[in-house]
């Protein structure tokens, strides 16, 4: 049963990650949602041209919806993340032409740690001068907690 579930997750992950990201996708501060779910797949994509590859997650929410989540450049997020982990995400919801539900993450909670990735208007915190690495960790547990 466990093997079957794992295979299903991988298949779903591959399907969702092969879906294209929206053409004019941007962080819409009026369209924020919170989702809770499980990581189905982890990938890295060069979605902003030649800039650093972005961490992309495929998530299945508790109501069984599938989300493709744009997190941050891979160098900015170095917390331990693995397929099957439970995750809470707040982000800006977009829908692309292919109908995939696309989310630009603002904040991620993973294993008791909270990572702030963008400010309230969607400004990416990795672009701040002296922004540092690993996101803004908050909450209890884990490395570099605040």
């Amino acid at each position: 049963m466990k093997k079957l579930s794992a295979c299903l997750f991988v298949v779903l992950g591959v399907i969702s990650l092969t879906a294209q990201s929206p053409v004019f996708h941007y962080f819409d501060q009026k369209n924020l949602i919170d989702i809770q779910g499980q990581v189905l797949a982890i990938d890295f994509e060069e979605i902003y041209g030649k800039k650093s590859a972005f961490l992309m997650l495929s998530i299945q929410s508790e109501d069984q919806r599938l989300f493709q989540v744009e997190v941050c450049p891979q160098w900015f997020f170095t917390a331990d993340i693995a397929v099957g982990m439970r995750i809470n995400i707040r982000g800006s919801l977009l829908e692309n032409s292919a109908g995939t539900t696309y989310l630009i993450a603002q904040e991620i909670s993973l294993q008791g740690e909270r990572f702030t990735l963008r400010d309230s208007k969607g400004f990416p915190l990795w672009s701040r001068s002296g922004g540092g690495r690993h996101g803004n960790r908050k909450g209890s547990g884990g490395r570099g907690k605040q």
């Binding site: 004019f24 941007y26 972005f54 208007k121 001068s129």
Partner: protein, 408 residues
């Protein structure tokens, strides 16, 4: 004392009030600078908005692609953060220097400013319609770093000015406080000296009366004794005992009267270089005649000399040492040092000490806390010290001895 407390309270309120006024003036100034800067930035934004509007209408007439190319050209400028074109409220084209950052509001606003982690951003938006009447808006967001710089400079200046002004006020207040305290202390010292003078004047009157009323009859009495003494039968032991007793008591009363007189008498001061080594050799002879003699030690730098009246200094040291010996001290230590140009005689004993409530009366004339004492010794000592232009103070804890310090 009440004046001091009131004065301090007034100074405190005044300083807080002054700092408060300067704080609000500086804050007002800072806000005015910030507001004016923002006004200038928005004015510049309105000019850009007019240019953008005119150009966009012209380009849109040629086709959407022209407008998009124009916006992309603008986007290539370093200061531009993002550009966007909306058609009928939906995003037609956008570009951002920061991944996914496009802070567009749903409500149209020709010029707006907002903060970002990298500084102030001005967004200029222009609304237009194409030939078919379809509405478009073009948005350009660009950094106006000067706003942030001016704001930071205003903030820095505000803090600097406030701290500087507060420091100056506090220094002035501290100076005023110190000055007034000094004046008050001087005034109190003058008052104390006046009271002391009045007290001595009263004592002078009393001692002058005693001199007049007792000294002469006492002298006659002594003369009569001297005439009577050779007529005594010296074989009669009882007569000899009473004769000696009479003589001793007359001498004692004469001694008391002499000391009373010294309290009111102006003592002449004859200064000379007193070699302390020799001085203490001479003192040994004086101390040898003391009824109760404790162990006395003294120490000072070799070849130390003091410019003072030898006779008065001898009496001063003798009085203090006698006082300690009479109080029951078994060891007295005399240390002579120099502090701030003054010679300090520290006379420390291991006697029973002085009770705290007695200390302030210790130099008052006719005040004694010993079983047998006239209350003249220390009063006279203080008078002699003052006569030499010095001061005397005492420090003591009950049962732990006393230390007299004489500054000459």
């Amino acid at each position: 004392m009440k004046i001091t407390v009131k004065y301090i309270a007034i100074l405190f309120v005044l300083s807080i009030f002054s700092i408060g006024i300067f704080y609000f003036l500086n804050l007002n100034n800072r806000r005015a600078v910030e507001a004016r800067t923002l006004e200038l930035a928005e004015s510049e934004g309105r000019t850009i908005e007019k240019v953008l509007g005119t150009a966009s209408v012209y380009l849109l007439d040629k086709g959407e692609a022209h407008l998009i190319r124009f916006m992309d050209e603008i986007f290539s400028n370093d200061q531009v953060v993002y550009v966007a074109i909306k058609r009928s409220g939906s995003l037609l084209h956008a570009a951002s220097k920061y991944e996914g950052y496009l802070p567009l509001d749903s409500e149209f606003q020709a010029v707006k400013t907002f903060s970002s982690p990298l500084g102030e951003i001005i967004e200029v938006a222009s609304a237009m319609k194409d030939r078919s009447g379809q509405p478009y808006t073009a948005h350009i967001g660009y950094f106006f770093s000067a706003i942030g710089e001016i704001r930071n400079a205003a903030k820095k200046n505000f803090l600097l000015l406030t701290v500087l002004q507060a420091s100056i006020i506090l220094i002035i207040i501290a100076f005023l406080y110190g000055f007034s305290r000094q004046m008050l202390r001087k005034e109190m010292e003058i008052q104390r000296q006046k009271e002391e003078k009045e007290k001595f004047q009263e004592i002078s009157l009393i001692t002058a009366g005693i001199n007049h009323e007792i000294r002469n009859p006492l002298n006659s009495l002594y003369l009569s004794y001297q005439m009577l003494e050779p007529l005594l039968d010296h074989a009669n032991q009882e007569a000899v005992f009473h004769s000696n007793s009479l003589k001793r008591e007359i001498k004692r009363v004469q001694g008391i009267i002499e000391r009373f007189s010294n309290l009111s008498r102006v003592m002449p001061v004859r200064r000379e270089e007193v070699d302390l080594e020799q001085f203490f050799v001479d003192m040994q002879n004086v101390w040898a005649g003391m009824a109760v003699r404790p162990e006395i030690s003294h120490h000072h730098e070799p070849n130390m000399k003091v410019s003072t009246d030898r006779s008065l200094l001898t009496q001063i040291i003798t009085n203090v040492v006698s006082n300690a010996a009479e109080a029951g001290a078994s060891h007295i230590d005399i240390a002579i040092t120099t502090q701030k140009g003054k010679t300090v005689f520290s006379i420390k004993d291991d006697g029973p000490g002085i009770r705290r409530e007695h200390i302030k009366y210790i130099f008052d004339p006719f005040v004694t806390f010993k079983a047998s004492g006239s209350g003249i010794g220390l009063a006279l000592t203080k008078k002699m010290v003052l006569q030499l232009g010095g001061r005397i103070e005492v420090e003591s804890t009950e049962d732990h001895g006393a230390e007299f310090r004489i500054y000459l």
